[in-house]
């Protein structure tokens, strides 16, 4: 039979050795592509690494390495690591913005305290991204955040993003805010239509769950 059974590859009987902190710092700053990747993968276990990860992200051009850098920050999940990710929501590069969004979603609870401020960010683009982020929060908290957007947000596209999420997670408590938003943007037919769809959906879900 040509199939062979071999022992694991030599030298690979155990997992990766505990990271040498100095080597991780050095590789993040000056390593080859492979060395930067390996350093990023090991970084979450290195104390005090967040500023170096943030610097590395600023410089990094290889999407694969950047993915590992964002993962390390999501895994660390400290206020400092979340604050290192947030500025990349403002990147000119759409890919980087998406990577930062995914990292904040992966960080889960650690990132939640930042979403209310992101929903009030001066940048419309950031506010739209934030609408996508907050959907995984506990529904009562998320619904309150989205209702606040509907009551005060001046940009129609941000409101539309909030309406889209509320259509999925909305509760009847959101209905008054949805109706007031429709009144506020009564001259924007697509938003009025979206809001009506959301209202119908929330009502049908509410009646379904009562049945």
């Amino acid at each position: 039979m040509p199939l062979i059974r071999k022992p694991p590859p030599a030298g690979a009987q155990t997992g990766p050795a505990a990271p040498d902190s100095a080597a991780v710092f050095e590789a993040l700053a000056r390593g080859t592509d492979d060395e930067r990747w390996a350093a990023a993968r090991a970084a979450a276990d290195v104390p005090g690494i967040v500023p170096a990860l943030e610097d590395a992200l600023e410089r990094e051009q290889k999407p694969v390495v950047r993915e590992a850098l964002f993962s390390a920050l999501a895994r660390i999940a400290s206020p400092q690591s979340i604050e290192a990710v947030v500025p990349f929501l403002r990147s000119d590069d759409a890919l980087v913005r998406t990577e930062a969004t995914d990292a904040l979603l992966a960080a889960k609870e650690a990132a939640w305290p930042y979403f209310a401020a992101l929903l009030r960010d001066p940048s419309v683009d950031v506010r739209i991204l934030a609408c996508g982020l907050a959907r995984d929060m506990p529904s009562d908290v998320a619904v309150k955040l989205y209702c606040d957007v509907l009551e005060s947000e001046p940009d129609v596209n941000v409101c539309a993003a909030a309406v889209e999420v509320l259509a999925e997670i909305g509760e009847t408590a959101a209905l008054p805010a949805l109706e007031r938003c429709a009144t506020r943007f009564s001259d924007t037919p697509f938003l009025v239509f979206s809001i009506q769809m959301a209202i119908d959906r929330v009502r049908s879900q509410a009646s379904g769950s009562r049945a």
């Binding site: 040509p2 062979i4 690979a12 993915e67 590992a68 992966a106």
Partner: protein, 255 residues
């Protein structure tokens, strides 16, 4: 089909799987989709419940892709004489790694010309023990021809068959948790990884970690095959989509 109380976990898992596959964020939304039979969801839902046990030659199109495209691509990229390494993870009770072995022996004309190493790994040590024993029931063998069963199995009794010892001795089984890098790295790098229907059960961070681990376990240019309801584009940007006639798989960039 009747599912009694002890099957509650099983039912929940299948419903969760379908909710994930359809992007439904709540059971209510998914239930509405099911009742409306949106995009043939009733059939998908039933399928999710009928493929409860894995079986030989499951998702055969990926095995066909392995022999029609993937191995040739890997051989072109490898030093002459280097073994071809294939990883089935998670391998459950062994149907998948043995299927790969049988498929190669039956369908790949060059099988005698290369050293081929197949590793099956799972987090469940009970499943691994069963895989090493290699005894299967009629249902698991239902997609194999009688000739293939005769060649690679011996009857244990009227209801069960055991993989022949030569084949059992050819597949190495190990325990692994794919979100633990310390457990995945020792397995080395592979040419092809079959990782089907597991990533969808992970949360975002675990999925990222697993994807990065699997990336490291693939040789540059190596391929990863996911389950038919999974898409790596929703899991990780590390891999490139590789479209072939028989299957869509994912590939670690060559460099």
């Amino acid at each position: 089909m009747i599912f009694t109380e002890p099957k509650r976990y099983y039912v929940e898992r299948r419903v969760t799987e379908r909710m994930t596959a359809t992007g439904a964020s709540s059971f209510e939304l998914y239930f509405a989709r099911l009742r409306a039979d949106l995009q043939g969801e009733i059939e998908q839902f039933v399928n999710a419940f009928t493929i409860n046990e894995t079986y030989f030659y499951r998702e055969e199109h990926q095995l066909a892709c392995l022999t029609s495209e993937l191995l040739a691509a890997r051989l072109n990229a490898k030093p002459r004489g280097a073994p071809i390494r294939i990883w089935s993870v998670p391998c459950s009770t062994g149907e998948e790694p043995y299927s790969i072995a049988i498929w190669l022996l039956e369908n790949w004309p060059y099988v005698d010309e290369h050293d081929i190493e197949i590793v099956g790994s799972d987090i469940d040590t009970g499943a691994i023990a069963l895989a090493r024993g290699g005894v299967y029931g009629k249902r698991a063998l239902s997609r194999l021809s009688p000739q293939v069963v005769d060649r690679y199995f011996t009857a244990v009794d009227a209801e069960s068959w055991q993989i022949v010892s030569d084949l059992r001795d050819s597949v190495r089984f190990t325990r692994v948790n794919i979100v633990e890098r310390a457990e995945t790295q020792p397995h080395g790098q592979f040419d092809v990884i079959f990782c089907r229907n597991v990533l969808i059960y992970f949360d975002d961070l675990s999925r990222r970690t697993a994807a990065e681990n699997l990336f490291e376990n693939l040789l540059p240019g190596g391929f990863i095959c996911l389950g038919h309801t999974e898409s790596m584009s929703r899991i990780s940007p590390l891999f490139e989509v590789a479209r072939f006639a028989d299957a869509i798989v994912y590939q670690r960039p060559s460099r």
